[in-house]
Symmetry: C2
């Protein structure tokens, strides 16, 4: 396991940041969650005048051996096909990244099939999909470490371009099953609470998924250390996200966390370095059943709750303008003094 | 009362719009509330390829006689001062409109003080503030009609520039008191449920506001017709918003509704022409106590819930990128067929 230098945020600017927020021309606290966000961005960047630079979205794609057990509504080849859709600009995440001016990178972390003819894909393929964790660990310890390193290295490369805000998305048929087991094992919550309909399973299909995952949990009943849990149930896209999140926080970037799968990758990350959470902005609370509980476990309050259940990073791309708004009000709004606006009176001016 | 031609939306394109949404490369329904929004925009514009053009934010400002009764934490002159702040670009709504590329217009609907030296203010002043509805109606029937006409005329002017999406914001010390009584009288909900802390009243100040508003409700116990309720309790900014909303919907624009005050103006509007609701997008559920209940009364589901309690149109400016996202995915995402992506399988591929 690579080592990361990840410390809790230095709070020495906290009072000055709060003062700046409180003297803006608005009632105290009237910008609600945007004020918390402004505080966080200023602390992460250690400045009273933060800036968002070169925002990037990383979408990690990989296949999962567990998909062969019929846990998804879609066939496994959809992972490969959706990567091609990302490349031609037709997926939801393409549309939203274009709208927000976020650079989009598509990473082959372990998709079944070759992208040799597609140089726009960042090739970090560990293998052509994981093995089915119904019977054996999804990956070897060496593959898991290789995936963590590859993700971390990519985040460092992106940081070197001047980017200071990084979104995390994913694509991988079967990956809600992987995320469910990561969550179940690392939070201790009952499997039923971690389980959801993924891309839209009906009741029978959901019961089948529950049976498969219950059997898989029993097969690996003794596994509990975070990295072993990751290797056992994780996908290559999840392990690469974990590595990328750690390196991004180490580099002092803001991390934009999308839905259930990216949050499961973050869960692994927090078990290794809890301070990573202070760098995270949560874009969206997905409809996937487990996601609300997982966000609660992480004490996270997402910016949006629009009933999305798509992944790809869509939830954090849609939330990005709110992050921009938080930074903009901190930098651009007038203060009561500079605008010549009267402050709140301590008492009502008259009685009824 | 001017007459408006406002019909329910023509639903003849509904099936074609739904088909277009359902064949995009995503699981059915996976874009959640954005899909409802895309349907609504397409129906309002009666096209499968909607466009948002020349978005405008109208911020109506006015003073309230009731402010003299000590119902706000801020002195009345803050209304005038904040208008100057809008003009110099330092308020939150300036920052957010700049960020979203929305044109901002500031309307003097009835502020105490002259803006003769500030040509950037749209002068629609009815009077220098309303009278205190604790003792008499806030405005005369003639003033109310004049305000409705002025608002409607402004919306028609803006529509003539090619604008098809219009945000509604306001500024007016004391206007949560006006909105509270409009809501109480027009919904029948108990006054206590319609009452909130406005710009941040403490418990004693809130009790005082409750006493003032209870007395005012009793003074005008017999008033029940929507326009009479508006004239009795409303502000000039609220009446102008009501007129502007009706003319905007008549012109086939999308209406972006902000917080408690703008929603109270819409409530009056719906009592006159219920079909106006089909043109409305709700930006934000404010922290103001009554707003959640008022949105519920209107069957409205806001896009954001960020704990804002500022008004000015901030909640709808912040939600505007979500409206853009809804339009963009409908226009730009690939379909399963065009992208060569496999559709969902009817059954799981194997059993455990």
């Amino acid at each position: 396991m690579p080592h990361f230098h990840l410390r809790p945020l230095n709070q020495s600017l906290a009072a000055a940041i709060q003062y700046k927020i409180d003297t803006k021309t608005k009632p105290l606290g009237a910008l609600g969650q945007l004020e918390q966000l402004a505080r966080q961005v200023a602390l992460v960047q250690q400045t009273l005048t933060p800036k968002l630079q070169q925002p990037h979205m990383l979408v990690f794609a990989a296949d999962h051996g567990i998909a062969a057990e019929g846990v998804s509504k879609y066939p496994q080849e959809v992972t490969y096909q959706m990567v091609l859709n990302f490349l031609s600009g037709g997926a939801a995440i393409n549309v939203f990244c274009r709208q927000q001016g976020m650079a989009l990178r598509i990473i082959d972390a372990g998709v079944k099939g070759s992208f040799a003819d597609f140089p726009a894909v960042t090739d970090q393929k560990i293998a052509e999909g994981t093995r089915s964790f119904l019977r054996e660990p999804a990956m070897t310890a060496a593959q898991c470490e290789q995936a963590l390193e590859a993700g971390a290295q990519l985040a460092r490369e992106v940081a070197a371009t001047g980017c200071n805000v990084l979104g995390f998305g994913e694509m991988g048929i079967g990956n809600t099953s992987a995320a469910t087991l990561l969550m179940h094992r690392l939070t201790g919550l009952p499997l039923a609470d971690c389980l959801g309909r993924g891309t839209g399973l009906d009741d029978d299909q959901l019961a089948h998924k529950a049976a498969v995952l219950t059997a898989a949990a029993a097969t690996h009943a003794a596994v509990s250390a975070p990295l072993e849990v990751l290797a056992t149930f994780g996908g290559f896209e999840i392990a690469q996200m974990t590595g990328a999140m750690l390196a991004a926080a180490e580099a002092g970037m803001l991390l934009l966390i999308d839905g259930f799968i990216a949050t499961a990758a973050l869960l692994v990350t927090t078990k290794l370095y809890p301070a990573v959470l202070e760098y995270c902005v949560f874009g969206h609370q997905s409809e996937e059943t487990g996601h609300r509980l997982l966000l609660g476990h992480l004490n996270a309050r997402p910016l949006l709750s629009l009933g999305l259940r798509l992944g790809e990073g869509t939830g954090c791309a849609l939330a990005y303008p709110l992050l921009q708004a938080a930074v903009s009000f901190l930098n651009e709004m007038a203060s009561f003094e500079s605008a010549g606006v009267s402050q709140a009176a301590p008492q009502p001016a008259s009685a009824v």
